[in-house]
């Protein structure tokens, strides 16, 4: 499995970004993971669309969308379902219609495989969450078994911990070099 300190794999995939006709799809690639604007990425995976645990969890992430935005973090949801399944699920489910983040379609399962999060028998993704820093490096990974839901607050807590806060040279102590951020 891709783990802490490793570069997030390169990819380019279709994602569902809207249920509005003609505006459903967008290509998302890993290029923007590495950026000068100090934007972090939080990518979370679920096993299958149209299943029970997933929409609750996805809706929780969506509710916290503003919390991620305020922390300069882009949220991406992903599974191995196709973009058409994603779109159908979003149209079908009340809690998913107003999703503010893209649903990535890893239809070929190549990204899940490269990340090492494919469940071996069914070949679906585990409930994995990745926090990627603005240099494209994985800083946190959390993988749950297929049936265990996630705690979004915990993801935010970790993100807070990872993002450097004390950038002020006031944090300087005697005998310590001042900060060169």
């Amino acid at each position: 499995m891709i783990t802490i300190g490793q570069a997030f794999p390169k990819f380019s995939k279709t994602a569902v970004v809207s249920i509005e006709k003609g505006k459903e799809f967008e290509t998302i690639n890993s290029d923007y993971f590495t950026n000068e604007d100090n934007v972090w990425t939080v990518m979370f995976w679920w096993p299958k669309d149209f299943t029970f645990v997933c929409p609750t969890e996805i809706a929780e992430f969506n509710k916290a969308f503003g919390e991620f935005r305020d922390r300069d973090a882009r949220l991406i949801g992903a599974s191995t379902d196709s973009e058409f399944v994603h779109a159908a699920w979003r149209r079908d489910h009340d809690d998913l219609r107003d999703l503010k983040f893209p649903m990535l379609a890893d239809t070929s399962k190549s990204l899940a495989e490269e990340l090492g999060i494919l469940e071996p028998t069914e070949k679906v993704a585990y409930r994995a969450t990745f926090i990627i820093d603005p240099t494209g490096v994985v800083r946190w990974v959390c993988v749950n078994d297929l049936n265990v839901g996630r705690n979004v607050k915990e993801v935010l807590r970790v993100l807070d911990g990872l993002q450097t806060d004390e950038l002020c040279p006031c944090n300087w102590e005697k005998g310590q070099e001042t900060l060169n951020a």
Binding site: D37, D165, E166, C170, A181
Partner: protein, 194 residues
Amino acid sequence: MSEVTETINELLQSIGLAADYRTDSLTLLEQGESRYIRDFKLNFTSTLTSEHLSTKECALLALSVAVNNNNKPLTNYFTKYAEEQGAIAADTAEAAACASLLASNNIFYRFRHFTQKEKYTQIPARIRMQIMMKPVTGKEFFELMSLTISAVNGCEMCVNAHEDSLIKMGTTEERIFDAIRIASLVTASGKVIY
């Protein structure tokens, strides 16, 4: 019209305030025909001039201090003046942001420095300071503004830390000194205009 009232009128006019604007302290100065009012006017005018800072920089520093000091008329005045000197909305926003952020940092780090307890330096601050990463007014100027606010708020170690980092960036002592002069005068102005 008495001489002192005349001076007051000129002062009010330059700040864009109505001729009948009075605060309690301004009234006291006027009634006592204080000689100070002339010094006050000259000092106020001099907040906007420096050999080591551009007029826009003077205006943004003054604005930041006015925000830090919760001074509405001076905040309005320096905002308008900064805009006239070419500051865009993002610049004036940053002056306000710097005042607010440094107000928290000055309290927080001053506490750490006061107590000098190792334990307090180990607990994470949990104060977000992302605007320090890429300030729109530039790293050096933001640092100068941070130093200025720290001086007003009286955090010794913050002042030393920002001063030290400015010197390392190549800022001259004259430039730093002028920023502090502006801060002291804006704060003094706020005792009469508020």
